[in-house]
Amino acid sequence: MLLEINDIHKKFGGLVALQGINFSVGYGETLGLMGANGAGKTTLFSLIAGHQEPTLGSIIFEGQKINRMRPDQISALGIARTYQIVRPFRGLSVLENVTTGALYGAHKIRSIKNASKFSREILEDVELKDRAEDLAGSLTLAGFKRLELAKALATGPKIILLDEVMAGLTPREVNEAISIIETCKRKYNLTVVVIEHVMKALMRMCERIVVLHHGEMIAEGTPGQISEDSVVIKAYLGEQN
């Protein structure tokens, strides 16, 4: 297994954000994380990426325990995350944004020239090539989301955690985003964990889905199983009289 989440608990003071989360992600898999707002999906990403420490439990990446490491050390191991609320380096050009990822991360390309060459290739993959020289702050929302993806890809990850990269996009942009992600996944040999509210996208992309509800894992299975799971339906739609 590439990534193992073992009995993870996270408390913020008295608030239980996550409890008893257990699942693993295999090499090359695309796993979906589903759940209503406040279910704990983003918190789980923060734990994996090292921005927070779990209260209890362990996170194992390629056999190594990572839940006391700093985010930059975790990035160096080959875990990349994107942010739901985008965090571009607004004052730098689009290319510089991506190049920074290539210079650090797991790739650690030493020369600026090679890093920007590699970054241009990634910008082509995410269809932002034309905006390479523009300031990142000048992009549209769809552009920001792609830039998040490009920055993450540039670090040379083995696994990429995508946090709602499609939220707020038009249906057409969603379709483009899905095909970009699928292309990149194949090209860079990635394992993907994706948080998404756009159900159609989740169903199409994922081989397996994990459902969180109020910090607990209530279901795990193929998209087909999940869409018929009575516990999930109850959690989402309430009980039928």
Partner: protein, 306 residues
């Protein structure tokens, strides 16, 4: 081609400025000394504050500490070795001091950096008072043309250093910290390490500048060596010139020192007022400074600092 032309021009300029030391009068050498001093200071400030966004309002702490280290070893070691040592000592100490200081961000860092300079000033003052020293004269300092040449050398090194860092992997990391520290860490930038390095590098040259400065003024007094005016002046110069790349501070310093010379003669009381207005105007309307503005207007480069 274009870059090699720039390099040739820069070398010609430096050789010319060095040559001037041979025959120029005291007045010209004095202005040159001041310009080079502030170029060296503002360039060093840019390495930390321009690139990482950790705005230091107390950079005089390096200048004053360098001067103090230098005066303490004055006479014990050869003059230029002393200058070098003061830079190294201050650089090493800032590696330790920087560790806690750089954990504070934004406006809090600004205040802390200012407070740090005042703290060190008063520590030196107390220490001096305990030894019953109110000021330490510097006897037998090298001639002005030698100090001028040394300062020119520091200005060249500082400019080269900023230019090089800005284009390096290290510089890319620093600039990403300025834009969003947490996002930078997420893509693998070891932010704590890079900030600390930038802090120390940013202190070495100002320390040596401080050492050379007291040879020119002929006296060390902690109130003068740690005066906040030096901090404010370097910040103003870097911001007016543009603080994201080496040409910025250079333009800012030349502009302000010449302005100062012009105004000082005719309307000395107007100088501070004009300085304030300029700083306000630049921060509000031309935040990228002269260089940022020029390169956007004439070269179509969308450079940004804020």
């Amino acid at each position: 081609m274009k870059n090699s032309l720039k390099l040739v021009l820069a070398v010609v300029l430096c050789v010319f400025l060095a040559g001037v030391a041979g025959f120029a009068d005291e007045y010209i050498l004095g202005i040159g000394f001041t310009i080079f001093m502030y170029i060296a200071l503002a360039q060093s400030w840019v390495v930390l504050s321009g690139l990482t966004g950790y705005i230091s309002l107390g950079h005089v702490v390096f200048f004053g500490s360098g001067a103090y280290v230098f005066i303490l070893i004055w006479g014990l070691v050869p003059v230029w070795l002393g200058v070098f040592c003061s830079g190294i000592v201050v650089g090493l100490v800032s590696l330790i001091v920087g560790y806690p200081v750089l954990r504070v961000r934004g406006p809090y860092f600004v205040i802390l950096s200012f407070g740090l300079a005042e703290l060190v000033k008063n520590l030196v003052l107390i220490n001096e008072a305990r030894m019953y020293v109110s000021m330490r004269p510097v006897f037998g300092a090298p001639a002005l043309y030698q100090l001028y040449t040394a300062m020119l050398l520091l200005a060249i090194i500082a400019t080269g250093l900023t230019y090089w860092i800005r284009r390096s992997r290290f510089g890319a990391g620093l600039r990403s910290i300025r834009e969003d520290e947490e996002a930078a860490e997420t893509i693998g930038v070891p932010v704590a390490k890079l900030k600390l390095l930038a802090f120390a590098i940013s202190g070495v040259i100002p320390a040596m500048v401080g050492a050379i400065f007291i040879m020119r003024s002929g006296i060390f007094q902690s109130g003068d060596a740690f005066t906040p005016i030096v901090s404010f002046t370097m910040v103003t110069m870097a911001i007016i010139g543009g603080s994201d790349d080496a040409p910025g501070p250079f333009l800012g310093v030349v502009f302000l020192v010449l302005l100062q010379e012009l105004l000082w003669v005719n309307w000395p009381e107007v100088y501070m007022i004009i300085l304030g207005i300029l700083l306000l105007g630049f921060v509000l309307f031309i935040p990228n400074g002269i260089y940022g503005w020029l390169s956007e207007k004439y070269f179509g480069n969308k450079k940004n600092v804020t």
